[in-house]
Symmetry: C2
Subunit: 495 residues, 2 copies
Amino acid sequence: MFELVELEKKIDKQFYEEKIQDLRQRLFFAQLEARKLKIPVAILIAGVDGAGRGEIINLITEFMDTRYLKTHTFWAETEEERERPPFWRYWRALPAAGTTSLLFGGWYENTFLDLAYGRIDLDRFDRRMQRRVRFERSLFNNGTYLVKFWLHLSEEGQKKKVKKIYKEYPEEIAKFRINKKNVKHYKDIIDAAARSIRITDRVEAPWVLVDAYDWRNRNLNVIETLVNLYEGAIKSHKEGVQKCITSNVNISYDYPSILDNVDLSVFINKKDYEKELEKLQLKLWGLTWQAHQKKISTIILFEGWDAAGKGGCIRRITKGIDSRLYQVIQVAAPTDEEKAHHYLWRFWRHVPRFGFVTIYDRSWYGRVLVERVENFATPEEWGRAYSEINDFEEQLTQYGKILLFKFWLHISKDEQLKRFKERESTPLKQYKITEEDWRNREKWDQYKDAVDDMVAKTSTDIAPWYIIPANDKKYARIEVLKTICDRMENHLKNF
Amino acid sequence: MFELVELEKKIDKQFYEEKIQDLRQRLFFAQLEARKLKIPVAILIAGVDGAGRGEIINLITEFMDTRYLKTHTFWAETEEERERPPFWRYWRALPAAGTTSLLFGGWYENTFLDLAYGRIDLDRFDRRMQRRVRFERSLFNNGTYLVKFWLHLSEEGQKKKVKKIYKEYPEEIAKFRINKKNVKHYKDIIDAAARSIRITDRVEAPWVLVDAYDWRNRNLNVIETLVNLYEGAIKSHKEGVQKCITSNVNISYDYPSILDNVDLSVFINKKDYEKELEKLQLKLWGLTWQAHQKKISTIILFEGWDAAGKGGCIRRITKGIDSRLYQVIQVAAPTDEEKAHHYLWRFWRHVPRFGFVTIYDRSWYGRVLVERVENFATPEEWGRAYSEINDFEEQLTQYGKILLFKFWLHISKDEQLKRFKERESTPLKQYKITEEDWRNREKWDQYKDAVDDMVAKTSTDIAPWYIIPANDKKYARIEVLKTICDRMENHLKNF
């Protein structure tokens, strides 16, 4: 989930200055226009300690007309608040038509901490999150535009920040900027946040994850998102329909992709490969039988660039499983029957019985990849799909009876070209390359955006994505097999 | 919740024959049209034993083109099904575009029984229900029209039905029509159903409650609802937008109202009234102080016809409470500030601190009463409001810290006329009667429909409606006070 915002992107000073002045103007005028149109806006700021939530709130306050902007902080509940239903204080903080509420932590941060510090269990946490989903839907349905920011730092990044702040300020001040207890519990807090974001990231009230490592990058991200939010709200208001504007909240200027950060130079030599492969296949054989006896299913899905080596990878896996225990499902264009149903229907159909392995060559992620890029699905449809997919995967994995692996095989654009040409010149492989492959290749950057969103929104606590460097096919295969064996081994211990 | 469908309405044979033939034709042609337009429809049939779920399924099957209609029954899970996530079997039963799925019990009945027989607890039940809400929303968003029927019998009605069936059929056959164990647990099953309907009755997947006492009435209700569903779906499909069609699923022919069934002849004589009143006010005084000490709040809201005596009733209550412990809130047209917010905002604002009493003279139910009748809210808006209100009341009542009383004071139309005239001719009361009152009076029948829907959809396990016969003002006051004292007394025992 946080892969994209741990890239520690840095923004050049001059670029920042130009950009931010322009955004500032647009934001100011958009706010005035929203005021006239009586649009209520709520901006929720959450994030890890040290990511600069306070600074962002100051920045927004500086940039906007404060007559129509109110900031609300939710400290420990006052006596007044404790003696009423928990949401009472949040209702009091909601924006009136034409105004903006800036919510520090909002209805999330206290609940993150409750889970992180073990004060409530997962069931209760999930219930609370579902209540938030209903609350936010009702806000949206009744006219409020809401955006939720998660300002992120990696564990490493947070440590550096803590050091810096404690160096710059005396302890009495520094401790109010960073809660050291929270820093110690980084992992627990991040896990709680990830779970919460999975459940509550909905088209009508999206989470925007922000890489807060570099303050310029952080500021630009937040302010540009806000500009998009206001301008989008104004546009849809003028068109007379209230629209979810998630598809607008992506940052438009040059931004690195998760994929750019993948080290593609990794490789394995032939001898090691053969030794490892044999060892892992043997291990997998044993694990899949064990899983069968314990009635644990395994679902492995592959997505990736054309010619990234999905087929070859799958063949190396299936060689390590008794043929009675697995099936491979090639996901091509849907059949007529499948097209006549909900897009998830055909995947539900093939959910294996407990104790078996199903391998999907492409998957339900087509909805947010090819269907998005090729406009087969509307922005509304693929925007909604992330949470529908998360719901689906929650159902698959909820009792621990199904282990779900999601692999994206990544290769460079050059490597793909090399492989395409090779295919064209090898008679036996010519069937593998089509006009469509060349067409997809032209949309490389659009697919990259789609992959970034997909990973950010669906790499979750219950079903993480594994991004596998696959310029070296052998390396990729070993990596995939290792990942599967390790997690299976671990998981089976619990049953 | 079930008040409206326990009226045991009977339909005359001749009326039935004419009506049903007409509906049958319309249903058939609508189905064909929906087929052409590729609209998928799901019809879920649930209800109490003996209400005729099987008969309804046979009827629908007889009336529709069975080439495009499939019936699915969900018995105890098969081994195949048990070895997959619980929803697997429901996905398999979903309709393809242009077809209809008829679902016996659907994804509800087994869960009702799980709760009724104590196999799961309330938390788990609620979680399951929320999953159903998300599932149904995703179905709707992806094009499926879904309607859920609850075929209802009162406990008495079910008993009669059981007798009849066991008289008509030999035991070996009768026992398959009615499960005697379920009959014994009538109350538990109804409670589970009511809770489930409260949580899962949403505009995009409405529950339709059917009075199944008379088979003709039951059949007409179901078939007419289906005709409205198909015709509504076709219309909105042609307009190019997918619309929730709840507002269409009300039955249009002459139907009794809950209010018609209220015995308005009840009265109390002056002497008894005075004795009772004094006794109850004294009791209330003690109870409200006790509640204050135990930090339990009480919210009492009044709705009712103009001149039904709300004010007088409220004065009799407040006389029984220490003035430091209560406040009365007159709900008039919203202020500018209130209008600028979510319609529930102004009610959240006034939620009392624990330990106090708040009395609302009119309430948040304005959304589904006056705003509906006067078209201040769109059908989409007031249609959605029922579940938003149920969510609100769930939050109010969830920890048992707030007791919520909802009273509808009912008088006859004649009685109202008498009181209006009296007001006009009594100088001291003239201020109480306005043009608006006369205008509202003209919309009596529309209000009656609105009250029926309101009670059916918001008289819930957590916050029931009390409908008080108020032609005799004194009787009404005593009844209200008694209701409050009894439930308070009971509730306070738990704290």
